[in-house]
Subunit: 373 residues, 2 copies
C-alpha cells in the first residue's frame, strides 16, 4: 500500500507573536493536493495535531475541518496519534464514532498493541506517553526507563504481528541521534529519554513525529516528517513537506511543500538593511530574523526596521552593543523620563502606554525626591 | 414514537464548591435505567450538556462516555443541541461522524430548519443562539428582536413540515411566563428576550432546556425537563427527572430520579442545630443550607456547624446580627489581630493562612503606628 506520512501540524501555533493560520491552511491544502496526486491509500499523522492541550475554538474548528476534508470528503483513511502537545483526553472525544469511516485515532497505550490492518500492512499507533503511564499500564512500579518501557510495548506489538504482512509503527518521541530545532518542546532530559533506534528493526517503516526538521534523523526506514510549517528561526532553511511511503516494493519519497511565506535570515548593518538594495529583495509577507552588525545604539531600531520589514520575528546583534552611545553629551541632556521611554522602545519595540508612563513617572519622582529610602 | 426528554446536565458543575460528579453519574445511571425500562426510541437532550464553554478534561471524558453509553452501547438515537453554557464550536467537534450511529447534534442555526425524521416524527434541533447569529444567518441587520428572529426560524421549520407527521421542537431558551431558580445563567434582559409560547402552537411537543425546575412552566405540550441534578439551594424541594413523551397517542409522563444526596434546608437556632434531635435527622452526605435564627455573634460558627453538617452549602441569618456582641467587655479586651482573625473566620468559615496573617499584621501595625497618613 501507499500512504502519506505527516506530523506536527501544531494548529494554533504562533511564530513569535504572528498567527500561522494562513500558513497552516496553505500547507494543508498542498498536503491534500499531494495526497490526491499520489493517490495514497491512507494518511498517517504522527502527533502534535494541536499546538496546545487546550486549543482555542478557532483551532478546534480548523483541525476538525481538516480531518473532515481528508476522511469524509476525500474518503481517505486517517491514522493519527496524540503528541506531547495534544491533550489525549480532549483529542480522544468522539473517537469511537470515527472508526466507522476509517479515521483511527489513538491516544492511549492500551490500544497501541492492537494493529489496524489495511491490505498488506499492519499499523501500530503509539501515542506520546509519559513513563508513569507505562508504569500504570504494565502495573510495574519499577519501570523508570523509557527504553525498557518501549521494549515492552514493542514486544506487545510483535505478538500481534501477522507474518507476510508489512508492519508500520506510528509514534511520537525523540529518537536517539536526532538533531533538534528550536521549536520542539523538550520531552527528554539529558538525552536519557531518547529512544535507541535498534528497537525498531522489525518494523518495515517507522513514521515519527516530534522533531520539526525532516533531516533530524537519517535512517532508511525511520523518518520524521517534520512540521508542516516553519515554526522557528532555526527552521528557516529546512525543507517542509510529507513522506510518500510505498510498502511493496519499499520506497519512500519526500514531497516538498513550498511555504506560503518564507522565514528570511538577514545579517547586515542598519544602513544596508534600510537601503533598497537589501529590503527590495524581501517580500512584505515574509517573516524576517535580523542580526545587526552595528555596535552603536540605534534609537527606536525595531520600529524603524519594521517600516522595511513588517514581520520581524527576531532582532539580535552579532556583537555586544557599545556601552555608551556615541553622542554621549546629547544623551546626558535628555531628561530621565525621555531616556526611560527611549530605552523601553529600544528593548521592546513598543511605545509605553499611558499607564506605563504614569507608573514610570511616579517611580522616577520618588527616586528623585528621595522618598524611597 | 416514544422518546426521553432531558436537558441541563451541566457536567462539571459545582454546588457552592462541592463537586457534583457523583451526583451526576448517579443521575445519569438512573436516566439510562429509565430509558431502557420505558423502551424509548430516542433520547433528546435540550442543551447545556456541559456547565462551561471550556470544560475540564474530566468533564469532556465523562460526557463523552455518557453519550457513548446511550448511543453506542445501548444503541439509542440521541438528539442534542448546545445550550448557553456549551461552546457550540467545541461541542460540535466530531459531529459529522456522529450521524452514522444516529447521534444528531446540532450547534448552529443553519441546520435547525432541517428536520431529523424518526418513524412518525420530525425533530427540529434549535441550539441556543444569540441575536447577532440570527442577524448573520438571515443577513438582516435590522433583526434586533428575539421574538421576530424566532418567528423567522419557525417559519423556516414549517416549510419543511411533512403533513401527517408529528413535529417536535428541541430548543434552549427562556419561555415567557416561566419561573426561574437561582442556578440558571440569565440569557434574557428584563424579560425582553423571553419567547412567547404561542409561536409554538404548530408543534406537537416542545422539549425545552435552560430552566432547571421542571415546574418552571405549565403548558401541556411545552415542557422544561429541568436539570438532572439539584444545582442551587432554590431547587432543594423541586423534583428531578425526565419526561417520557409518546407522540401517538400524545402522552407525557414525568419520571422522577431520586438524587444521590439531598439539599436539606434548616432554619433553627444554633443550640437546636447542634443538638442530636436535629442533626441526627440529616445524612452526612446531604448538602445543607442553614438559616440561623440567632441574633448573637457565634464565634467560629460555620466550622462548629460543620462538625454536625459536613457539607454546608450556605449559611445565613433570618434577622440582622446584633450589632455588639453580648459579652462586650470580653471582646474589647482582645487584641486587634485576634479580633480580625475571629471576624475573618466568622465571615468566611476559614482560618487565615500564614500569608494572610502576615498581610493583616503589617496593615494593623501601620495603622497603629500611624504610618499611613
Amino acid at each position: 500500500m501507499r500512504f502519506l506520512h505527516t506530523a506536527d501540524w501544531h494548529i494554533g501555533r504562533k511564530l513569535y507573536g504572528y498567527n500561522l493560520i494562513e500558513e497552516q491552511e496553505h500547507d494543508f491544502k498542498q498536503l491534500t493536493k499531494i495526497a490526491l496526486e499520489k493517490n495514497v491509500d491512507a494518511i498517517v499523522i504522527a502527533g502534535d495535531l494541536y499546538d496546545r492541550a487546550l486549543p482555542s475554538e478557532d483551532s478546534v474548528n480548523r483541525l476538525n475541518r481538516m480531518i473532515m476534508k481528508l476522511n469524509l470528503r476525500l474518503q481517505k483513511p486517517v491514522l493519527a496519534i496524540s503528541g506531547n502537545h495534544d491533550s489525549a483526553v480532549r483529542l480522544n472525544t468522539g473517537r469511537e464514532w470515527f472508526k466507522a469511516t476509517k479515521y483511527f485515532l489513538n491516544t492511549n497505550l492500551k490500544e497501541a498493541m492492537i494493529p489496524i490492518e489495511f491490505s498488506d500492512t499492519q499499523f501500530f499507533l503509539l501515542p506520546y506517553f509519559q513513563l508513569f503511564q507505562a508504569r500504570n499500564f504494565f502495573a510495574d512500579e519499577t519501570l523508570t526507563d523509557l527504553t525498557i518501557a518501549m521494549q515492552k510495548i514493542i514486544k506487545g506489538m510483535k505478538e500481534n504481528f501477522v507474518s507476510g504482512k508489512k508492519h508500520v509503527l506510528v509514534a511520537h518521541f525523540f529518537a536517539a541521534g536526532s538533531i533538534k530545532t528550536d521549536s520542539e518542546t523538550k520531552i527528554e532530559v539529558g538525552g536519557l529519554n531518547a529512544v535507541p533506534l535498534d528497537l525498531f528493526n522489525d518494523f518495515d517503516y517507522v513514521a515519527l513525529g516530534h522533531l520539526h526538521d525532516v533531516n533530524a534523523l537519517h535512517a532508511e526506514r525511520i523518518h520524521y516528517s517534520g512540521s508542516l510549517a516553519k515554526l522557528s528561526v532555526s527552521e528557516a532553511k529546512t525543507n517542509k513537506g510529507v513522506w510518500i511511503v510505498d510498502t511493496e516494493p519499499f520506497h519512500t519519497e519526500f514531497v516538498t511543500i513550498k511555504p506560503l511565506n518564507e522565514i528570511v535570515l538577514l545579517q547586515d548593518t542598519y544602513e544596508n538593511l534600510t537601503s533598497p538594495k537589501v529590503y527590495t529583495r524581501v517580500a512584505n509577507e515574509d517573516f524576517v530574523a535580523i542580526t545587526l552588525l552595528d555596535k552603536a545604539v540605534i534609537p527606536n531600531v525595531i520600529n524603524n526596521l519594521r517600516e522595511f520589514y513588517p514581520k520581524i520575528i527576531s532582532l539580535s546583534r552579532k556583537d555586544q552593543i557599545a556601552e555608551l552611545p556615541t553622542d554621549e553629551e546629547a544623551v546626558l541632556e535628555l531628561d530621565p523620563m525621555t531616556l526611560l521611554e527611549n530605552f523601553f522602545e529600544d528593548m521592546t519595540g513598543e511605545k509605553m502606554t499611558k499607564q506605563q508612563k504614569e507608573w514610570a513617572n511616579n517611580s522616577l519622582e520618588r527616586v528623585i525626591d528621595g522618598d524611597e529610602k
